[in-house]
């Protein structure tokens, strides 16, 4: 059965010369051609080799083709089918998983008598299968390469078979020359070829041998074929510990052997290459010795101690290979194949010292990368903003996340507890720009929103008022207004953002606040100028510009706008504000261009929703709730404006503080909450894969329709409970610690009432016992004394500020009383809902007491503040979903839905 063997080997070797390993005549069949790796790699190799793959197999996929630049490669269920279809091949490539590789080898050998070579790419072959593969090949006279090989390549023939040598552009590494490479590492086969090429040495045949216990085509056969290859003047071997293969290799041409792994003798097991285990007399030290003896050198080659002979050199660092080879070949009177293409000096392609002063040896300047990479980097630099990979975003978010352990939600990495300390405009910036706000950002946001809040004479106000009068809850009142802030309202500003970003990026603007930026660098753009300025003054634009000036807001874009002839339009000012806000995060690739261009729309929406919370009567031509428009624009913060929209009057500093604390606490509760699901569903239904078609106002309406009396409105439960408890207590000012009320007695009375209620219900046999709102928590329980960490955090924050809240103090007393009376087994925690109720009621207590605020209005206020906060959190989730999601990705497959009878 043995075919003709070459040489005097005790086993079969069929290949006599390296130039026969990968030839233009070889025809290839690839097993598992449609597998993940093969479908990437095979088309590249096929094209590089002039179309050497005749067919591939993939059980059950007969009739398909693998597309390549040279046309499709047919796919059959098995090898026999391919042969029956008339294809002929002499090389088999095995891309099967480890459990199937041996059977693949058997199939190739048994059904194709023309087979001469097999290349096994499969990694992690068992030794059991390798030994049988060896025997199969030997019995049938087939040369096998691998396993765990990245195949072979021939730079002269421009052929690669069975793997990916040279990566996605083989020509980049494989330049014809005089050096053969045999390497235990597939990666280093290409890396060494690249290093050689840079130093003026081209290659002939490259073999990635693999480094399993069984190396089927090993160093002795390579040495034999090297001797018979007229093209190859010398060889480079990359050798790892383990195995006696190299000991039996007899070289007749110069060799540079790179032996690595001395250090590995300290490891207790192989990492990466199964056969590369050191320890015996085939470890790295032994192999260095073998090669030194073979090559007649007394030591290792290093640049400082270049030990070589005409026979070769031994190195232990692949970077020393080119120098060692050049020195060895000099001994043989041979010069490099061509002029060195480059040097191996350190060349950072990317780098930053992050503003630190680094020592000179670390502070290497970034250099331009070699072609074609330099151009790719330039292209990358021209790409503005991040581009996120798309994936199904059902129940997932890249914006908000609730930690199930602590129950604390974070938005873009900032916990709600931290957010509670931020002003509202900073939380707006955080939600949409994913970064904390600078003072300038805050000035811009405050002015932009203030310019949108007064809806006097606008249809949004009429729609909101009509919705209110029809008996709708505040969420639907706001939704009515939002529905009118449609895409056309933001169209021009969005376009302007896009044009401004393009022009200023071309001019390489670094900081949007750069006072020294030369506006002359902006290329004239008639379309842009035509949109930025108009022939007549726009009063709203002028008011906003005046407000920005009054606030001392800085912006290169505003400066540019004002430098143009004509009168800035309202959209232009808004776009300039938005682009200023977005510029930094955009350049840092924290946000996408899409997010930047959406910003004007979001700003209009937020302003409108805040304004729509106030009844129509509050909106005058010149003022809102009595606050002059100019004052709103030039001086009020978003927190103050929000407080105004909530209370219908200007809030005291303490009110604003409580308001902003609540906004921060309520921003988000993660993507699983109903409100977040509402806005994400709206985005998903529009189809985020065509993001320009997603309507932001509809996303807001999605969130608003997914809030209601039990989600959002339930903050009132706690308030109602507190009002009930304090009904007869005659509390004048909950902020006054000397309120004169015995909270302990009050709590004891509540507990007694509750204990009686509980007992009555039990007597009646009912287990449906209502709980006291604001105490206990499903996570923070089971200790003797329990705390909701969020409540503790807020309590400490307020205590540090010297704030007192009688309602909060009452709650803390209440949980103690419940325990003392035996109603609870442990001291329950006061939960975050209680804190919210206590804070809100404290803010509204006076108007409620003096009758200017009805019970109904109190409930509306509790709901509205939730909506104000959550509109920011939901905008963050909607924007994230637009950037990451797929069309209709929030749907639930029918198989996971239940029918309930």
């Amino acid at each position: 059965m043995h075919r003709h063997s070459v040489g005097s080997f005790k086993y079969h070797v069929g290949i006599g010369s390296l130039d026969r390993i990968a030839t233009r005549e070889d025809r290839v069949c690839v097993l598992n051609i449609l597998g993940g790796e093969s479908s990437d790699v095979t088309p590249v190799g096929h094209a590089y080799s002039g179309g050497n793959v005749v067919f591939g197999t993939s059980p059950g996929r007969s009739g398909q083709v693998l597309e390549t630049p040279l046309g499709g490669i047919p796919v059959y269920n098995n090898v026999r089918e391919g042969l029956e279809a008339g294809h002929r091949f002499n090389c088999g490539v095995v891309y099967l998983p480890p459990s199937g590789a041996r059977d693949g080898v058997a199939e190739l050998i048994r059904v194709n008598p023309d087979l001469r070579k097999i290349f096994i790419v499969t990694e992690k072959l068992s030794v059991h299968d390798s030994r049988e593969i060896r025997a199969l090949g030997q019995q049938n006279g087939v040369d096998i390469f691998g396993g765990n090989s990245l195949g072979v390549a021939d730079s002269y023939h421009q052929v690669r078979i069975g793997g990916a040598l040279g990566g996605d552009d083989p020509g980049e590494a494989l330049r014809p020359g005089s050096i053969a490479i045999f390497s235990n590492s597939g990666n280093f086969t290409t890396t060494i070829a690249t290093y050689l090429r840079m130093s003026g040495w081209g290659t002939t045949t490259l073999i990635s041998s693999g480094k399993d216990v069984y190396i089927q085509y090993a160093a002795p056969e390579f040495a034999f074929a090297l001797a018979n290859d007229a093209r190859s003047k010398a060889a480079v071997l990359y050798v790892e510990p383990g195995g006696y293969y190299e000991q039996d290799a007899h070289f007749t041409k110069p060799v540079v052997a790179c032996v690595v792994g001395r250090w590995k003798s300290r490891l207790t097991r192989a990492v990466g290459h199964a056969g590369a285990m050191a320890g015996g007399d085939d470890d790295a030290a032994a192999k260095e010795r073998w090669f030194m003896e073979k090559l007649g050198v007394a030591g290792l080659f290093t640049p400082d101690n270049p030990v070589v002979s005409a026979k070769g050199a031994v190195v232990t660092n692949i970077a020393h290979i080119p120098a060692a080879l050049t020195a060895v070949m000099r001994e043989n009177g041979a010069r490099p194949d061509f002029a060195p293409e480059s040097s191996l000096a350190l060349k950072p392609w990317f780098g930053s010292s992050a503003g630190l002063t680094l020592p000179a040896e670390l502070d290497l300047p970034v250099v331009e990368a070699v072609a074609p990479y330099g151009e790719q980097i330039a292209r990358l630099d021209r790409q503005i903003g991040v581009v996120l990979p798309r994936q199904a975003m059902k129940d997932a978010s890249g914006a908000s996340q609730m930690d199930p352990k602590t129950q604390v939600t974070s938005l873009h990495g900032v916990s709600m507890l931290e957010a509670a300390r931020l002003p509202m405009e900073a939380n707006l910036v955080l939600a949409l720009l994913r970064e904390p706000a600078s003072e300038n950002d805050r000035a811009l946001v405050n002015a932009a929103i203030a310019a949108e809040v007064n809806l006097h004479g606008r249809p949004e106000l009429a729609a909101a008022q009509a919705a209110r009068e029809a008996g709708n809850a505040p969420n639907m009142v706001l939704a009515a207004a939002a529905s009118l802030v449609g895409p056309r309202r933001a169209e021009t500003a969005r376009r302007l953002c896009r044009l401004l970003t393009d022009r200023f990026a071309e001019a390489r603007l670094g900081s949007a606040l750069d006072e020294g930026f030369d506006l002359g660098r902006i290329a004239p753009d008639a379309e842009l100028s035509g949109l930025l300025v108009g022939p007549e003054p726009d009063p709203r634009a002028e008011a906003l510009l005046a407000a920005l000036e009054a606030r001392g807001a800085r912006s290169v874009f505003l400066r540019y706008l004002l430098s143009l002839d004509g009168h800035p339009t309202r959209d232009a000012v808004l776009a300039a504000i938005a682009t200023t806000l977005a510029w930094g995060p955009l350049m840092r690739k924290r946000i996408s261009r899409l997010t930047a261009e959406s910003l004007p729309w979001w700003l209009q929406l937020f302003g409108t929703l805040l304004g729509a919370a106030l009844p129509a009567a509050a909106h005058g031509p010149d003022s809102l709730c009595g606050v002059p428009n100019a004052d709103l624009l030039a001086r009020r913060t978003l927190g103050e404006i929000g407080c105004l929209a909530l209370l219908g009057r200007e809030g005291q500093p303490d009110d604003v503080f409580v308001f902003e604390t609540l906004i921060g606490l309520l921003l988000s509760n993660g993507p699983g909450t109903i409100s977040a699901q509402g806005c994400k569903g709206a985005v998903s239904a529009d189809g985020p894969e065509s993001p320009e078609r997603v309507h932001l106002n509809k996303a807001m309406i999605g969130f608003l329709t997914h809030a209601g009396y039990t989600h959002g409105g339930n903050g009132y439960e706690g308030i109602a409970f507190l009002i009930e408890q304090f009904r007869d207590a005659n509390l004048a000012d909950p902020a006054d610690p000397d309120h004169g009320i015995d909270l302990k007695a009050l709590a004891d009375r509540t507990v007694a009432d509750y204990a009686r209620y509980k007992s009555d219900r039990k007597t009646l046999g009912s287990l449906d016992i209502q709980k006291i709102p604001g105490v206990n928590h499903p996570v923070f329980k089971d200790k003797a004394v329990n705390h909701d960490p969020r409540e503790l955090w807020i309590h400490d924050l307020l205590a540090a500020r010297g704030d007192y809240n009688a309602f909060h103090a009452y709650y803390r007393t209440l949980v103690q009383s419940l325990f003392e009376a035996g109603v609870s087994r442990t001291v329950y925690c006061v939960n975050i809902d209680a804190v919210i109720a206590a804070l809100l009621l404290k803010m509204l207590w006076r108007p409620y007491r003096d009758g200017s605020l009805s019970g109904g209005a109190l409930e509306t206020a509790a709901f509205t503040i939730f909506l104000f906060a959550r509109m920011l959190g939901c905008a963050a989730d909607a924007d994230d979903h637009i950037n990451r999601g797929r069309n209709m990705d929030t749907r639930t497959p029918a198989s996971q839905c239940r029918f309930v009878a």
């Binding site: 790796e37 068992s126 199969l136 290093y195 190396i215 990317f350 991040v386 931020l422 805050r442």
Partner: protein, 435 residues
């Protein structure tokens, strides 16, 4: 993954029907030990080590007892004994009691895959019982054989003839030794060694080979060993929590091989490719926390999970995150770098900023997009970094990473930490300004 000693060895040999000495485990009762001594005249008391520990006899870790009292004393001496062999220190946990087998002849036998012959190879000598290396080569037969037909009786017979083994040994060994091939080939072993096999005479003087010590190694890439139903703890000693966590991701699609080098190292180096692993492990030495090979084109999800686990265990102590590999052939650099960058960003998002210097050296498909993803993350996190292409000497890149580590150790870490703190949002100030 090794099994040594007769406690488990005897059970494995029973699978193949190979005779063994009688063995009792550490939980044997005094009556059982006494019975064993009564039946065999004496017992050997041997400490039980996890994994493979050689040269126990020479280290005096072998007890022999002719009575119960001595047996129990030896048990006490050897139960938790420590054994140093080369670099490895092993601690026993238990002892075995093995019935003595009277014999004139001791045989050494092993099967392993020889890289000289590139075939499974039997090593056999009738002068066993001592270290095989101590024998002259002429006294040892090393015979490769065809794995498709297996170890056949004639192979053993030929070898014994060539060794001029006593005639009485040949027939029983020819009958029994081929059974061990089934054990070796059928259960995913890479080596099996019986030394000594003692040739016990029966009443008629006919000899039976009895295995008195056992050693085998299993191939971690071969699931056949799982058929043996060996207790999992036998191999558990091999892995730290970190390694075990990473190993759960071990599939043929993408490597996930790791080994802890120095649990208090300061360079966290996810390495790609076996070659790069050798180079980097060697050059970083004890500065490296782990030795790893994550090449083989891992998909994004797997790479991110691997990186997440690495960061969870080691990022806090790391000065340098050093991502290094040669010019990859098929590993998609965008997928792998993006996965690691995302994992890093998420780690920092969850655990807060950590002072870190990022160094990478790589080549391959989608290189620039991959480096771009890493750059953007480093920029977003405010960390210093240098990313080198494949045209930089890889060993110089490793040296650069070491210099970065040195600088971090000499005050750089504090400088980066300070810069990160300064870069933190001045939240309190903002709030105060708002008030």
């Amino acid at each position: 993954m090794q099994v040594t000693g007769m406690l488990h060895g005897a059970k494995l040999l029973h699978f193949a029907g190979f005779p063994t000495s009688e063995v009792l485990g550490p939980d044997a009762s005094e009556e059982e030990i006494k019975g064993l001594i009564d039946r065999h005249g004496s017992v050997f008391v041997k400490p039980v080590f996890k994994g493979g520990v050689g040269k126990k006899g020479k280290a005096g870790l072998l007890g022999r007892a002719f009575d119960l009292r001595t047996a129990l004393r030896e048990k006490e001496r050897l139960y938790f004994v420590e054994h140093r062999h080369g670099n490895a220190v092993a601690k026993a946990n238990g002892v075995t009691f093995e019935g003595a087998v009277p014999a004139e002849h001791e045989v050494y036998f092993s099967i392993s895959d020889s890289t000289r012959f590139r075939a499974p190879t039997m090593t056999l000598t009738h002068r066993g019982g001592i270290d095989i290396e101590e024998l002259d080569k002429s006294e040892v037969a090393q015979v490769p054989f065809d794995p498709l037909t297996g170890l056949k009786a004639f192979v053993v017979a030929n070898a014994l003839s060539e060794l001029n083994a006593p005639k009485a040994l040949i027939s029983p060994l020819v009958q029994q030794l081929p059974k061990l091939w089934e054990l070796y080939h059928g259960f995913g072993m890479t080596t099996v060694e019986l030394n000594p096999i003692r040739m016990r005479p029966d009443r008629n003087g006919r000899l039976t080979p009895v295995a008195c010590d056992f050693k085998c190694g299993f191939d971690r890439d071969d699931p056949r060993w799982q058929r043996l139903g060996l207790p999992g703890h036998l191999f558990s000693v091999d892995y730290s929590d970190f390694e075990a966590e990473i190993n759960q991701l071990r599939t043929y699609q993408g490597q996930s091989d790791v080994c802890i080098i120095n649990a208090s190292g300061t360079i966290l180096a996810p390495t790609f490719g076996g070659g790069a692993n050798s180079l980097v492990t060697e050059m970083l030495g004890d500065d490296a926390i782990i030795s790893s090979d994550f090449g083989g084109n891992p998909p994004y999800e797997k790479m991110k999970e691997v990186a997440r686990i690495c960061f969870k265990h080691w990022l806090k102590q790391a000065n340098v995150l050093f991502i290094i590999g040669g010019k990859s052939n098929n590993t998609d650099i965008f997928e792998t770098f993006r996965a690691m960058a995302d994992a890093l960003r998420e780690h920092v998002g969850r655990h807060g900023p950590t002072p870190l210097y990022i160094v990478a050296g790589r080549g391959g498909p989608n290189l620039i997009r991959g480096m771009g993803a890493l750059r953007d993350t480093a920029e977003a996190l405010g960390l210093p970094y240098r990313l080198f292409g494949f045209d930089s000497d890889m060993s110089e890149v490793v040296a650069y990473a070491r210099k970065a580590d040195q600088w971090m150790k000499q005050g750089g870490r504090e400088a980066v930490a300070r810069a990160l703190t300064i870069g933190e949002p001045p939240r309190t100030d903002l709030k105060q300004a708002a008030e």
